[in-house]
């Protein structure tokens, strides 16, 4: 499976950060509700904390590919390369 190379962080549809996966670090992203803390470590990404009531983005944990979203704070974190086939079991989840 090809390794994800970049992490794109958007707030309210605006791209704010493009980060390489290789470097570990923490990014504070300012959204309408406050700061969403994004952590990169060992080719994985997670939301460490966010100013939302249910903290569903935090509960999602570490991700190697795909998307992590904090809906209330309008943060969309996209992991990986566009176009490469990613080894996921399903293409979408109905919930």
């Amino acid at each position: 499976m090809p390794k994800a190379r970049n992490v794109l962080i958007e707030v309210d549809g605006h791209p704010l950060y493009v980060l390489p996966m290789g470097r570990d670090g923490i990014v504070e992203v300012e959204g309408p509700r406050g700061k969403t803390i994004v952590e990169l470590k060992q080719e994985k990404v997670r939301v460490k904390d966010s100013p939302c009531p249910a903290k569903q983005c935090v509960k999602q944990g570490w991700a190697e590919h795909g998307v992590i979203v904090c809906l209330p704070n309008k943060v969309v974190i996209t992991i990986g390369n566009d176009g490469d086939d990613v080894d996921t079991v399903v293409d979408a989840i109905t919930r």
């Binding site: 998307v67 309008k74 566009d82 176009g83 399903v90 979408a92 989840i93 919930r95």
Partner: protein, 359 residues
Amino acid sequence: MKSGIQHAKSKFQIPNSTKRMVSTLCCFVLLALPGSCTHGKEKIYKKSRIMMDTVITISVVSHSEDHAERAINSAFSEIKRLEALFDFYSPDSEVSRINKHAGISRVKVSQDMLAVMVKASFVSDKTGGAFDVTAGSLLVLYDFSHGIKPRPYAIEKRLPLVNYKAVHIDRKDAGVFLEKAGMLIDLGGIVKGYAADRAVETLKREGILSGLVAVAGDIRAFGLKPDGKPWKIGIKNPRAEGKDDILATLDLKDMAISTSGDYERFFIIEGERYHHLLSPATGYPVRTCQSVSIIAGEGVLADAFATGVFIIGPEKGITLIEKMGFDGLIIDREGAVHVTSNIREKIELEKNFTRHNGS
């Protein structure tokens, strides 16, 4: 390199040198035309945005990243346009205009609103009123962010305002009139499916031959992926915490799937779950199902019927889904799985889940 020239059988022999020259010229022409480059491998391009108060993910198959991006952006623009019409919480939306004129006057509406209201009325009829957009006046009594439920008196007072038959739709002049003051329509149970349909249409107009539009859990697929396989959809376990836990997978071939579940918006008070799928008759959440998933040709119908069937309950719900010619999967309050007869062979159920006896 394929030359792209069809050689019809003819009496005249075309010299090989001419054939080569023509085929090279054709190649140049193909390369020069924007978006028609056949060099690139077909790939899946995917983009997620927040709209309609949820996450929308659009995936398309294309040879060209530019083409994919343009098509995806067009589809998102279309969804943004629909959001402005249907947003219950925006005072400027068309649905708010209809609500503000309840008991006062008819409101002229867009073709999209007319289409949704006509479909909503159809589903209300078929579900015996279990799906009812006028339940909006009950839904506003619940505060899901803060876990506050209404007093019984507040619900009782509003029940007379819940009646889909009191919604008058003028198809000729594209108008909607709510009979009584205080009536509120909330289209949350139908517009995500409608948006998925319109987004797919936009992608097709942009020349995309295969794609997947997921408006939260309201999903519509068309075409096949580069590996020749259909788009694969997972059905979420209603009681999974945090991370997505899939209880079944199925292939979606030019169809739509929608799920209504008691885990999307809810709070728990004294062990009782209060969620957003309310019975229009009582004003209280219906608890006979944990989730309902419906597969139909159109997203708008999959969405509305999933909402209505949830209210109806598992056994009668499966019967209705079969009667409508759809496929469906229901997880009842005990966690048992009920399925329509056709779907049995189409889905792969994960090991932990037991099928309900007899279905």
